[in-house]
């Protein structure tokens, strides 16, 4: 009786659904365009005007050229190194900090937490950071993209909140059995926190994969460039033709599609991963929202 649907409610549902469908269309279309363009025939793409609804012709030439380009391959390699090593360090250090700060036995945990949280609200600025990284001797090394990003304060707090939700009794009984803090962290707390670890892997992983600014300011050696910095040259600085090995006339035309193929190659890996982790990061946001 109370759940009757009136005409106005029904029409609201329809309008809402149509609006959301439109929103989805606007959201995916740019990427669909890129995907279509990347496999299109370069000549017909250049002469095409307006919205693309399907690939124009079909050719994988752009993709073969992308993978023939040494800068892209090198960039891929550098990015992989930064993501893998970076993630390892991120997870270990964030877990250490989160675990220690979640222990009630730690007398100074409030002050220590404040010491860490303060950095979220005040920073020394870009140049002092640059001088610090330079002073530590990390400039022109891939470690400059890893060590200064070792811990993200927001992630640390998220993980600490998750650790605090684990019942104390579990740890106490482990302590009685003679387990020390390292054993408790690695054998009990971490295995029980897999959803949060998944979120951390995604957050940190995406930020390493997508970062370019630190690479731009800390690296001069082009052989160290991560993928995003190579992309920037291709997409935004118009160096596609000179850098991507388009030497003769025919391949100059290919650069049009090459740009799109490069975007695909750099973006698809992330787009394949996030939907699988979605349920976890929603849970992660929940933790952050309620107790943050």
């Amino acid at each position: 009786m109370l759940n009757r649907t009136t005409l106005s409610e029904k029409s609201f549902d329809w309008i809402n659904a149509i609006f959301l469908l439109l929103l989805m269309l606007i959201t995916v279309y740019p990427l669909v365009y890129v995907a279509f363009a990347s496999v299109s025939d370069a000549g017909s793409l250049m002469s095409h005007k307006g919205v693309l609804w399907r690939p124009l012709g079909f050719s994988f030439d752009a993709y073969t050229n992308v993978f023939r380009n040494p800068m892209i391959l090198k960039g891929y390699g550098n990015t992989f190194f930064v993501v893998l090593v970076g993630l390892f360090l991120n997870i270990i250090l964030t877990a250490f900090g989160a675990y220690a700060l979640s222990r009630k036995s730690l007398a100074y945990r409030k002050s220590l937490l404040l010491f860490i949280v303060f950095t979220m609200f005040f920073s020394g600025g870009l140049i002092p950071l640059y001088l610090t990284v330079k002073g530590v001797g990390l400039v022109d090394s891939l470690w400059a993209l890893i060590i200064p990003q070792a811990v993200n304060t927001f992630n640390l707090i998220l993980m600490k909140t998750a650790f605090e939700a684990i019942p104390d009794a579990l740890e106490e009984s482990a302590k009685i059995d003679g387990a020390n803090d390292f054993v408790i962290l690695f054998r009990i707390v971490l295995p029980l926190s897999m959803p949060v670890i998944a979120v951390m892997l995604l957050y940190y992983g995406v930020s390493h994969w997508n970062s370019w600014f630190n690479a731009m300011i800390f690296l001069q050696d082009r052989s160290l460039y991560p993928l995003q910095l190579v992309l920037r040259e291709v997409l935004l600085q118009g160096e596609a033709s000179s850098n991507l090995g388009a030497s003769d006339g025919a391949s100059a035309m290919l650069t049009v599609t090459l740009k799109y193929a490069t975007i695909m190659v750099a973006t698809v890996p992330i787009l394949l991963v996030y939907p699988f982790l979605q349920k976890y990061f929603v849970k992660g946001a929940l933790i952050g929202a309620i107790k943050g």
Binding site: L2, E9, F12, D13, A17, L20, L23, M24, T27, V28, P30, V34, G50, L52, L93, F96, G97, Y99, A100, L101, R103, S105, L106, A107, Y108, F115, I116, T119, F121, F122, S123, G124, G125, L126, I127, P128, L131, T132, I147, V151, L156, D181, F182, L185, W212, F213, I217, L231, R232, L235, K259, I263, A266, T267, Y274, Q278, F281, V282, L286, I290
Partner: protein, 302 residues
């Protein structure tokens, strides 16, 4: 006895401190180190003499900035871009979350969410590459405008369009992601309140204004405080990727100016002064908005 106390605590929690050492070291070096380094804003930094050895100049760099030609330009651009972002970018995810909340089919809801999250995971470099590609005079956006009889504009070369492009693409990229936290807050609302509202004869609109919106208000306030606290911190990465000397007039914000003066012109001390000024303003803004919210809403960050 604080000194005695800390040693006793270290002895008691030896392994916890072993875990904390690398973490604290990281914060000392890469966060507090730069805070200390910021004193070069009051010095004439020369790499040869180092941070401590360089000569003090007091507030000279600040004065140069405050009286210089770029002071008002960068302040105005920073404030305007943040304000537009706050006005358009902040409510957008709340609206989307409310609309999603009305969707009853779980599969449809999930699909909308998955799709709208997507742009958040695409790198800024790619996003800006696509923006540039779509907005050139023979790009897709202009093709559509021309189709409807409009005039072609190369948006990124026009100072008058920079802020609109910046803000609208920002909404496009983050609207879906922004809904997560509000949807999470929505699931926390007590279902009994809806039942009670229904019994009182509230329709869906009344339920939304009287139960749903008050239910997520604390989340809205907290996020608003955070956003206002970050107001002067406009993401300069996107600006640096999109602007060019022709659009500096409307695009150059404090942080992009800091980057240009510091890392392109190597004017370390002056740039640090501008950066420090920005950090202090941010900090004050955050404290003020937090204070206001505690006063009027009993909700605050601390």
């Amino acid at each position: 006895m604080p000194t005695f106390g800390i040693f006793r605590d270290i002895r008691k929690n030896k392994l916890l401190y072993v875990m904390l050492i690398p973490v604290l070291l990281y914060y000392v070096v890469f966060h507090y180190g730069p805070m200390y380094g910021a004193i070069i804003a009051f010095k004439d930094f020369s790499p040869r003499l180092g941070i401590w050895g360089s000569d003090w100049v007091g507030f000279e760099h600040f004065q140069t900035f405050f009286t210089g030609p770029y002071f008002w330009r960068t302040i105005k651009n920073t404030v305007l871009i943040s304000l537009y972002q706050l006005v358009f970018g902040f409510p957008a995810p709340i609206l989307l979350a409310l609309l999603l909340n009305e969707v009853k089919q779980a599969l449809f809801k999930r699909t909308v969410q998955t799709i709208t999250y997507m742009p958040h995971f695409i790198s800024l470099v790619v996003i800006c590459g696509i923006i540039k590609d779509f907005t050139v005079s023979d790009g897709v956006v202009n093709d559509v405008i021309a189709f409807f009889g409009g005039e072609r504009t190369t948006f990124l070369l026009e100072p008058s369009f920079f802020r609109s492009v910046y803000v609208s693409t920002g909404v496009w990229q983050h609207i879906g992601w922004g809904t997560i936290i509000f949807l999470a807050a929505l699931t926390g609302i007590d279902q009994e309140q809806y039942e009670a509202a229904k019994i009182d004869g509230a329709g869906r609109w009344k339920q939304m204004t009287n139960v749903t919106i008050p239910g997520i208000m604390p989340t809205i306030i907290i996020l608003l405080i955070l956003d206002i606290g970050r107001m002067m911190n406009v993401g300069f990465e996107k600006i640096i990727l999109l602007y060019n000397p022709g659009t500096y007039e409307t695009a150059d914000v404090i942080s992009s100016y800091v980057y240009r003066v510091g890392l392109q012109d190597f004017n370390y001390s002056f740039s640090s002064a501008v950066g420090l000024f920005n950090s202090v303003i941010n900090f004050i803004l955050l404290i003020c908005s937090n204070w206001l919210s505690r006063k009027f809403n009993d909700t605050s960050l601390w």
